[in-house]
Symmetry: C2
Subunit: 190 residues, 2 copies
């Protein structure tokens, strides 16, 4: 998606060869006009797949997922990263290791909101090592729902997540795929 790539080049901040900050339009400040365009692109890619539910994970996936849900006219469910006191134990759960925060946490979604007859599109902001996406796929499988695929905003294609998930036969569509990045040479897209 050309508009997104241009935005990454313009406003993304390369901290080092592993970390790209896009807080100014995606991860903390959210450019809703851009999100609308991304949602349109996800609709173009997955609009004919009978999606009736979108699954994402808190926190920074939620915004893009909600705008996408608006296009698909379906509910959006987000997996939670921590168990909360006022939530039922009746949940699907999966373990996820965050390389960013260097810790392992549980992600959960209530069994009430994922069903065997659901056709689920996963939406998330980043795909790098694939840990979060694998966790979300696992929740969909546990529910016995049909996984249509995953729509990702930015994929670090030089990290193993995308290959790992695609090799399972899962359709993964990323709006911007980064082939390499470094302070010296900048960001190169696939």
């Amino acid at each position: 998606m050309q508009l997104l790539k241009e935005r990454i080049l313009k406003d993304g901040k390369l901290i080092n060869s592993q970390i790209l900050k896009v807080d100014s339009f995606l991860n903390q400040q959210m450019d809703i006009g851009l999100f609308e365009k991304m949602a349109e692109e996800f609709w173009r890619l997955f609009g004919d797949c009978g999606v009736n539910k979108i699954l994402t994970i808190e926190a920074s996936g939620i915004g893009v997922a909600c705008l996408t849900g608006q296009k698909f006219k379906c509910p959006v469910v987000f997996a939670k990263k921590n168990r909360s006191l006022n939530r039922s134990e009746n949940v699907y759960t999966s373990k996820v290791h965050s390389f960013t925060h260097n810790k392992t946490y549980d992600i959960t979604v209530s069994k009430e909101y994922l069903h065997p007859n659901d056709r689920v599109l996963i939406i998330d902001d980043f795909l790098a090592n694939g840990a979060a996406l694998e966790g979300l796929v696992s929740l969909v499988r546990d529910a016995g729902a049909y996984l249509v695929g995953a729509g990702i905003v930015i994929e670090k294609a030089f990290q193993p997540g995308g290959e790992k998930i695609r090799s399972q036969g899962i359709r993964v569509e990323s709006l911007a795929r980064i082939a390499s990045m470094s302070i010296e040479d900048g960001i190169k897209f696939v």
Copy 2:
């Protein structure tokens, strides 16, 4: 907002006289069509106030805030509840005590995304004791920005938060205000 009140009565689950679960349309599964209606209502209430930025807090405020940002055609910024390794220390911060989770945490927002010339509308899903909202107000004050007011989805008007914030001269508009709730008598709105 009549539509929201009806939905709370239909799908809200009263756990006890303090805890109302609205996970099926607001806090975990998000009804985007309903969110659009809520965003329209926030636009009706605050549309003439020159809002150029919406501030919310992760995670369950983000969805409503993004749909509202779409109406206001402005960026949405969310405060984070934990410091992350790949974020600058250049942040505004405030302490918030969560009664739900019975712990105190820092909320932060990068100084890059709140400025003295901003006219900020705060959006959040719940107002009860007012701890989160007070924290968000504090971030806006620290930035020297103008606080237009706060738009809340559900206010537990029998808890002290709303009164506490309004007594500071801050405009708070809640789409549904609950006067009382109990297993015996159900939910009564103001």
